[in-house]
Symmetry: C2
DNA sequence: TCTCCTTAGACAAGTTACTTTACTCATGGA
DNA sequence: TCCATGAGTAAAGTAACTTGTCTAAGGAGA
């Protein structure tokens, strides 16, 4: 990396991660951590789902109850959200029932299998974070997390947009 | 977020960014910062290029000299890399010349316009980082960058893979 | 020299993950 | 009764690739 600066050497393959752009560091850290997480989820028997399906579960926990609501929570069209719900219903992670408010609305709810997925995802994520604690100076990621929170609040400058890493 | 834990409240829309998963923090910070960077590049007259084209320039600086080499540096097929080079050649950012090693090889090189893009990208990136320095406790992102570097080295556990955020 | 193998590059078709466009219902208010 | 609105669905379009297949150009052996 080192965008737009003189290249140190032509074969700087083992990059000095500390002197690289912040944007690159954030992206690479995210990519690496997500990959580990996904690998472990696959190994735990959830290879049929992508991260975006996990975000659907999240949006349901956060209060979304129809395909359209899921779509706007995730920042995708209702058609795309409807497709996610189709996938999840077919695989038994959610079920569609009648909606109390009537209309064409259909209530989307997590099944037991869906709740179990959430439990596993949460456990694996905390496990992964735990394994990383030891690498920080004071044995905790608290400082890093606080810095990231600051950065995010400054960059967003208001409510957070939907999280959409184009998975 | 708070995957797999009891949801604090049903309408926790203004999320407490500090208590959220590290993976989510990394992804959100990256998404927000990349978006700002891309917006500024667009405003600077580079709306015709995507971030992946910037990575092509990077790979050329790092020593890649043919489509195939660019492809393996970026972790995509040679066909995809060839397409990137087509785009860039058509827009005047790179040129293809004869390769000294012969064969079907074609040497890919940055034009002046390509170098200018790199200059601008670097300047905007440093400008963006500069603007963020003030939000950190000691007026510098050094601590954050050091923590991220640690995290990346631990997660990669060896040479870094290609950076491929699926843009 | 001839054959075999490897590699670069190009072309075309296929795939994925969506969006866009265009509807069909169901309800509810004027 | 007649829209107007919003949910849901279906089908086509699109972007950014991969896969499959081919040709061209060496280089290594026999």
């Amino acid at each position: 990396m080192n965008v737009g600066q003189a290249a140190g050497s032509d074969d700087a393959q083992p990059v000095d991660v500390g002197s690289v752009e912040l944007l690159f560091q954030l992206g690479m850290a995210f990519q690496l951590m997500l990959e580990k997480f996904v690998r472990r989820m696959d190994a735990a028997g959830y290879a049929d789902l992508r991260p975006v399906h996990g975000l659907v579960f999240q949006s349901l926990l956060a209060g979304a109850s129809t395909s359209s609501e899921i779509g706007s929570a995730l920042g995708v069209t209702k058609q795309a959200a409807g497709q996610f719900v189709n996938d999840l219903e077919e695989a038994g992670y959610v079920c569609r029932t009648e909606h109390p408010d009537g209309g064409r609305r259909r209530l989307v709810r997590l099944t037991l299998k869906g709740h179990q997925h959430l439990q596993t995802a949460g456990a694996l994520l905390r496990e992964l974070e735990q394994e990383l604690e030891s690498i920080f100076a004071d044995g905790s990621s608290d400082r890093l997390r606080a810095d990231l929170a600051q950065l995010i609040m400054r960059l967003a400058d208001g409510p957070l947009p939907p999280f959409r890493p184009n998975w």
